[in-house]
Symmetry: C2
Subunit: 461 residues, 2 copies
């Protein structure tokens, strides 16, 4: 705990405010222990009486609780607050704790586990052009069509045709990133107590949101060729799920792609057991056109989801759903009810960027740069004695482990203290089970601190 | 029903596709009747056999069902779809039906009931400047801080200080419009089966989303001075709600403001009965600074919500929550889990627009323009023999009724056929109960079609 004492206010106030802030901003977690009175007094060179008074006030405010003989702890619930959402809450709290660390602890940290492409690899000049182009367009202030900006939906129709996924633009619903897309789908198709099938390992934000909805997760083990279809079928028969959330290619975190045979089997099982398949193709533009589940199924049982956060800009929050027309109409209703509409300005920016002649060229450059980075990162991890789950053919993720380590979470904690953010495997597991694996972002693997860290860990084997 | 037959495809295909589209896009509602075979054949000048074949195929596809002796109807559920979300669904379906009409039926319609200010009343030149300014900024591609763009949060801190609501920027969470703000709050504080207090009449999107969450609504009647506090207290004791959602000033739809005494009583009851008050101040910038619930309470029991959709642009989708620090931290967790982050680009645009010296001037102009429009609209409605609920001192809404009409919904249906969109009172009621009242947008009341319509209705008295 790091409380700064140097203000003009009384010392007790400073301590109270400092600890309140630590708790509010979750540097100190609910249930976490604060230093002993003596310890705090010595560290901060203040009298014990001052600390006693501050801790007493924090107890009165509901921030701390004292446990007899054991010291003071941050309370897990504040007064006047609603009851816990569900029994899964503590586990979800751990997850958001980790997500928050990913998103907020950035400055000067080597983000080897981060899920985004560095901004300076993207086409910032293109975005500047799009902004200037938009500044000359008309009617830029309106709410716009709740289905999303019509010219962008038409453009997406063309882009999906390239993947051999024929749709009409009325089957496309624009959303605020894939997050809102997945959120609308789970709100429409799932209710509390339902079980959903997910990839194990898979996408942690999805898992967290599903749990928040009271949905139970059944994890389908992901192998080098895609999900283990025997387990998929067994779980489907056991739980009668309505939905299986998956990624066919460039899967997060493993980087694996479904083989055509596995994709076919998945759809066969979906048909037989009567569930829908949500295909999250968020990394799509990092690879050339190629078959997806939606290509085989033509949006009968597949709901296709994608965004532009990876290849245009994370700052846009524009994604979309392509699905059956009747379901698209229902999801539109839900979108209007919960968010009225998505940002027409952001959608116009995406449209301007996509129709700009430079987009395809910039994608080609980006893919090549990622390919080279992937090759270098593979070599670096192997040189450090790590085992790769697969050597992916596309995308930005590598999934790797040390043979002598059973749980990578302590490793990630240790690394963070040295300025390197790793993504421990446990975060990607439906039940946050321990895992030896870690996700690496190939674009972030050049940092010498990472290399040094990996070598040191390898030397402990 | 309006099916166009003029394509190059076989007639049966054209009919099938046309009716599918009508159903998918909800021009034909679930349970709605399609024309009889003979009727359709005569209208479209095709043979009855063709229609029979098309209807049969639509039945096979699950789009239509035939009821013996009664004809063909759009099915209320499609095959393979999930079960209905809850027993409230039909009612919610009616609501989204109306919202959709508000949002999508725009071209050439006089939008007297619409909730937005016409774009040409807003500062489009200012937005163009903001876009150009943004095109010169750095790091415009990043996801950004999940709490929202820090300079904008600092700016909001200053703006809230003008309302005498002291906050630190760590208490401010940026959201995608007030919609996401309200959504996060209900997800955090309410669970299915809970009862929430709301204003009657009040904000329909809020009601729809609450119902979608499985939350029951208890309506507190809104009087000229604010909510009826005796009923508020009775309902609070009866239902033990965790939250009361309200608007203190420029309430949607009545245009009323809470008197200081009523505001004080509301907070007293909240304290006594232990619920939080969510104050939606979405129209804030349409009026000068003045006391809000949050001014009295200083964000102890009040959660303050606002956006820039009304005064900057509906196309931005930027709003915020200001609340207690510990709750802000919890809502941030939920935001990261469900949407990762909001659009940093949109937030930078808002920041650029707010710090531009023209914003205050443009607000002054806008307020004056709305004041004049309000005065004219009041005169026009009174001249047509309508009764006003109150004559509001600020804001864009008037709430009015004809003495001889009990339910304004049929009136709104009639008006739409004549190119005038009215907002019937039933939409604003927690249980969609009938209402004689209608909401008028003062900025949209100049249209001669509206004037003519009102005069004709008045003449029927």
């Amino acid at each position: 705990m790091n409380v700064q004492l140097h203000g003009r206010h009384p010392l007790v106030d400073q301590i109270v405010e400092g600890i309140k802030q630590q708790i509010d901003e979750r540097h100190l977690r609910p249930g976490g222990r604060v230093p002993s009175i003596r310890g705090f007094a010595e560290t901060h060179k203040v009298s014990r009486f001052t600390v006693v008074e501050a801790y007493d006030r924090l107890v009165a405010l509901g921030y701390l609780e004292s446990r007899r003989g054991s010291g003071f702890y941050a309370t897990s619930r504040r007064n006047g607050e609603a009851a816990l959402k569900d029994e899964e809450r503590p586990r979800t709290a751990d997850l958001v704790w980790l997500i928050r660390r990913l998103l907020t602890q950035r400055d000067g940290v080597a983000l080897a586990g981060a899920p985004w492409i560095p901004s300076d690899w993207l086409d910032e000049a293109g975005m500047r052009r799009a902004l200037r182009a938009l500044s000359r367009e008309k009617q830029i202030l309106d709410f716009g069509d709740p289905r999303g900006h019509a010219p962008l939906r038409s453009q997406l129709e063309l882009m999906l045709a390239e993947l051999d996924i024929p749709v009409s633009s009325s089957q496309i619903l624009l959303t605020e990133g894939t997050s809102q897309a997945l959120d609308l789908i789970m709100r429409r198709l799932l209710r509390p107590g339902d079980t959903a099938l997910v990839d194990d390992p898979g996408y942690y934000n999805l898992f967290g949101n599903l749990r928040q909805h009271g949905v139970r997760l059944a994890g389908v083990p992901r192998g080098p060729d895609g999900p283990d279809t025997a387990t998929l079928e067994r779980l489907a028969r056991q739980h009668q799920p309505k939905v299986y959330f998956t990624q066919s290619v460039m899967q997060n975190p493993t980087g694996t792609a479904m083989s055509p045979h596995v994709a076919f089997r998945v759809l066969q099982i979906a048909e037989r057991c009567g569930f829908m398949v949500v295909e999250d193709d968020v990394c799509c533009d990092l690879d050339g056109p190629g078959p997806r589940l939606a290509t085989l199924d033509r949006l009968n049982r597949v709901i296709y989801v994608r965004s532009f956060s990876k290849t245009l800009a994370g700052s846009l929050r524009v994604g979309f759903i392509a699905c059956r027309g009747d379901l698209a109409a229902e999801l539109l209703d839900l979108k209007m009810l919960t968010s009225i509409t998505s940002s027409q300005l952001a959608e116009r920016l995406v449209h301007a960027a996509l129709v700009d002649g430079h987009y395809r060229k910039s994608l080609t450059r980006l893919r090549e740069r990622i390919r080279l980075a992937r090759e270098r990162a593979v070599l670096a991890l192997e040189r450090a004695g790590m085992e790769l789950f697969v050597e992916p053919k596309a995308g930005m993720f590598l999934w790797a482990r040390f043979g002598h380590i059973d749980d990578s979470l302590p490793l990630a904690e240790e690394a963070l203290a040295e300025g390197v953010m790793l993504a421990p495997g446990t975060v990607f597991r439906p039940g946050l089970e321990p895992s030896p694996w870690m996700r690496f972002n190939v674009a972030m693997c050049e940092d010498p601190r990472l290399r040094a860290l990996l070598e040191r860990i390898a030397s402990r084997a």
